[in-house]
């Protein structure tokens, strides 16, 4: 079996500041890849390069699309990248405000991707929006409410519904539980885990929280100063870290 997603030699600098350097990473269908590291280690830079939100200085990203076969992501036109981004891909932001339209109702938020790909039947769009709201455990009677009236955890679940409604193959997530209270985080993680299993989603998730990795990830990479210092099966890395930096990360969480 070939990976659904393969990145090789990804490097990105901001002037003389290193973002990330020569990163290789691959993902199989139905697999969750965690990217961990402390703040400033280059996780978001890498994720944004992988998802073609920014152009790396070097490297190649291959996606094996169910509909189009093998595509060289960074060589696509912007129009093709944006089309892919709202059909077969999804991107969940840490701050739901970055991933939602705050002035549009919950139903409109979930329906937008459907309308983007040409769905023109109001009743069908609404039915799907309700369906996805209940799948992320949101009260469907709030379908016409604006996300600004939702709690942080509800907003994040709405953002996930909005992204999954077109049944994308590959989901990028940047610290999706980042801004939430611990109990809310736990509920969101439960939800993410069941969605990943149910829909056999392929996910690349960035986090500084090893508990998130423990719960969701099959494999992981550890980043430090823009480089990957350790990579492997998530359980193995967490139980038996080899690199001193990973050992430090793991021991610091165990102390909590």
């Amino acid at each position: 079996m070939q990976p659904i997603f393969e990145a090789t030699g990804i490097s990105k600098s901001y002037g003389h500041i290193l973002g990330c350097s020569n990163i290789n990473l691959s993902l199989y269908s139905g697999e969750v890849m965690g990217i961990v590291g402390e703040s400033g280690s280059g996780k978001s830079t890498l994720l944004n390069c992988l998802s073609a939100q920014i152009m790396p200085d070097q490297g190649e990203v291959i996606f094996r699309s169910p509909s189009r076969g093998e595509v060289d992501i960074l060589k696509l036109s912007e129009a093709e990248q944006r089309y892919l981004a709202r059909t077969e891909w999804a991107y969940v932001h840490q701050n739901p405000r970055d991933g939602l339209r705050m002035s549009v109702s919950a139903g409109g938020n979930v329906g937008e991707r459907l309308m983007n790909i040409g769905n023109r039947h109001y009743g069908n769009i609404r039915t799907k929006a309700e369906d996805w709201m209940s799948r992320v455990e949101l009260d469907t009677s709030r379908i016409d409410h604006r996300p600004s009236t939702f709690s942080g955890g509800m907003q994040q679940r709405l953002q996930i519904a909005r992204n999954l409604v077109t049944e994308p193959r590959l989901i990028f997530m940047d610290e999706p539980t980042g801004g939430l209270d611990v109990s809310v985080q736990a509920r969101l993680l439960d939800l993410l885990r069941s969605l990943v299993q149910e829909l056999s989603l392929s996910v690349i998730i960035v986090t500084h929280d090893l508990a998130v990795i423990r719960m969701l990830a099959d494999r992981m990479v550890v980043m430090k100063n823009g480089n990957v210092v350790e990579a492997g099966l998530a359980d193995q890395v967490l139980d038996d870290p080899q690199h001193p930096y990973t050992q430090l990360l793991v021991s610091s969480i165990l102390q909590v």
């Binding site: 944006r82 937008e112 109001y122």
Partner: protein, 295 residues
Amino acid sequence: MSNDYNFAYLDEQTKRMIRRGLLKSIAIPGYQVPFASREMPMPYGWGTGGVQVTSACLVPEDKIKVIDQGADDTTNAVSIRQFFEKTAKVETTTHTEKASLIQTRHRIPEHDLDENQILVYQVPIPEPLRFLEPRESETRKMHALTEYGLMHVKLYEDIAHHGHIATSYAYPVKVEGRYVMDPSPIPKFDNPKMSMCPALQLFGAGREQRLYAIPPYCEVISLDFEDHPFTRLKANAECELCSANNSYLDEVIIDDEGNRMFVCSDTHYCEARQADGHRGKRNRLDQEGYDATHI
């Protein structure tokens, strides 16, 4: 003093610049072309975009008509008409069929337009996507890549909150299957008149510095949903002065008691029908107490 004005006020170089923009807008129906809008001797909101387009299009043989909400006699329409009488010394008219150029705010005349006419719209906000996406860089990209799902999100919101598409002015359209365009705040009743229209339709937004166009005989489709199709929306009434039942009606207050009546918003159309002997219920010879041939 008025001899000191260049023909139609703007200098020749500015008019050439605007004409180049207009030619580009005609070449790409519905596409917003930026232009360097000039200060005009009237405030923004008074149709400075339309006035600049008219100025760039006028020739001495033109006969122009100016309407505001369908009426030839409002302050705004009168002052723009006088402006061109003074600066271009062109003839003016209130007759739709006699005008070679019609500048309008918020209406399309009821009388069919023909191939020898230009209709110039005054536009306050040219960007139809602005409502949900304030970033200009993003809306430009959406137009370039034909990403118009957001326009339907706006209509979705209408139905979710009102049970039907409540947008009744500035109702978004798609021109020639490509660009989504704001038709300016005309009532959606007028939208179908834009499609396959023999006249050249030009749009000018002064403050926002944009020009766009619908060339003659272009297809203009009002956006909608399969299960909530576009409807024209018209008061279920006929004009009480001329009995027209297929024109756009305004509901106006006619006395101190707050009594109301429906009349054509297109004053010239209404007067022409009355001159042809059409009479509405407020205006029949047997009806006393009203002399409402003109309000």
